[in-house]
């Protein structure tokens, strides 16, 4: 409801702004000020909508966790090469790489590969510092926890929170395109991990294939965001690069069977039990094509 309300306001303000452009005014100076003010208001509402959609997208750690729980073996060959760090020169590229390394860090942490984890942590620190957002990632605490073999869940949680803080700061500083780059880089990398693990699997992993197909929902949200940012040159290029993947995901369908929820109290917590099911339909040919396309896309993006 809130999001819909904001979208209505956004469209109303955008319409008002556009109609104002056609009006004849006596003072040019006054016109410019008013237009800038209206444009700023329009952008502020758009930022809120963007922020809400970004908030609705799961962090890469969730997909990495599903990959791990599927019983797949760890493979560092599928991770993004840290030697490429110096090749990321623009803010946008750095954002993409930061998102990707964040996804890799989550994957590595879940498999408790402390040594590799520290390498990725250093990589993230360098790129985050280059983007002037390194202060929001608690590197020292994570390193200390990793060195002392503390709960991997705490390390993963603090890392995820660090990315949330970076995102909030970027929103505050109106650097939404960098937030988008981090989001897309993280999503593409986590999808890459999932499809590669599935590819390397000797027998078809039904659960993992289903998770790959379900990414259609998150990809839908990303496409909405890309549409909002259609005036951003870097993101327009990303949208173009993602066209083939979009057409492949159009072949995936998700259906639902609903059932009523039942609740019960366990140790002071309300537990909800529901048997509503989502059923993913993805054929082998589409899955293979998605696997190939994610590889191509990844090479283009970071």
């Amino acid at each position: 409801m809130k999001k819909q309300f904001k979208k209505v306001i956004f469209l109303a303000l955008a319409g008002f702004f556009l109609s104002a452009c056609g009006d004849k005014k006596n003072s040019q100076e006054e016109d410019l000020d008013k237009l800038l003010d209206k444009k700023t208001k329009t952008m502020e509402v758009a930022d809120e909508v963007v922020s809400d959609i970004i908030l609705s997208i799961p962090p890469p750690i969730e997909l990495a966790s599903l990959v791990q729980s599927s019983g797949a073996d760890y493979s560092d060959e599928i991770l993004n090469d840290l030697d490429k760090i110096d090749s990321y020169t623009s803010g946008f590229n750095r954002g993409m790489a930061l998102g990707a390394m964040g996804a890799d860090l989550g994957y590595v942490n879940l498999y408790e590969k402390t040594g590799v984890s520290l390498e990725y942590l250093n990589g993230i620190r360098k790129v985050a510092d280059d983007l002037n957002i390194g202060q929001f990632f608690d590197f020292e605490t994570i390193k200390r926890l990793a060195d002392n073999s503390h709960s991997i869940d705490s390390i993963v949680g603090i890392s995820t929170e660090g990315f949330e803080k970076m995102n909030n700061y970027l929103k505050e500083k109106k650097r939404g395109n960098i937030s988008m780059a981090i989001l897309i880089g993280g999503w593409v990398e986590s999808l890459h991990i999932a499809v590669q693990v599935n590819k390397q699997s000797q027998i078809p992993n039904k659960e993992l294939i289903e998770r790959i197909g379900e990414q259609k929902i998150v990809f839908g949200d990303i496409n909405v965001l890309l549409d909002i940012y259609k005036d951003d040159v870097s993101l327009t290029k990303v949208a173009k690069d993602m066209q083939k993947l979009k057409s492949l995901y159009n072949k995936v369908s998700i259906t639902y069977e609903y059932s009523d929820p039942v609740t019960r109290e366990v140790d002071g917590m309300l537990i909800v039990e529901q048997n509503t099911k989502s059923i993913v339909n993805i054929d082998d040919e589409t899955l293979h094509a998605i696997t190939e396309e994610v590889e191509v896309l990844r090479n283009k993006l970071y």
């Binding site: 908030l55 002071g268 309300l270």
Partner: protein
């Protein structure tokens, strides 16, 4: 003299109001809400500083989620979260109408991947201040 006192009172009230607003954004409230997650991994935090706020999130099948609800403990104005599925059908509420009990934690083992909606409001109907944290558990 009276005018001066009035201005001073107004200034103090504005100052108190600003402090209250800034406390709503306080990291301490978020931290205490995160601590309720126990063995669940932090995923996202949601700030609620108005009468009614709705956020959406893509929940994944096979994942156990926990939604924690924390407010400023203002009497008769507790924060409530209602979870709705993709069809906007109510799945659960942190407030049990039958018993009048408020739950600070909702556990949801998701069986259907999709967009879910978390609608936050305050029981007293007044604007309030709260934080909600979403966590997940590895299988």
């Amino acid at each position: 003299m009276k005018k001066g006192l009035f201005l001073l009172t107004s200034f103090v009230m504005i100052l108190i109001s600003n402090i209250t607003m800034s406390q709503c954004m306080d990291e301490k409230l978020k931290a205490s809400c995160s601590s309720l997650l126990n063995s669940f991994i932090f995923v996202k935090s949601f700030k609620v500083d108005s009468g009614s706020t709705e956020y959406s999130y893509v929940f994944s099948k096979g994942t156990m989620y926990m939604i924690t609800v924390c407010d400023e403990a203002e009497e008769n104005n507790k924060m409530v979260v209602e979870l709705y599925d993709r069809a906007h059908k109510l799945v659960a509420s942190s407030f049990d109408k039958k018993t009048g009990k408020h739950y600070a934690k909702i556990g949801y083992p998701c069986s259907a991947t999709g967009v879910y909606y978390m609608k936050y409001s305050f029981k007293g109907g007044k604007p309030g201040c709260g934080v909600s944290v979403l966590g997940f558990k590895r299988n």
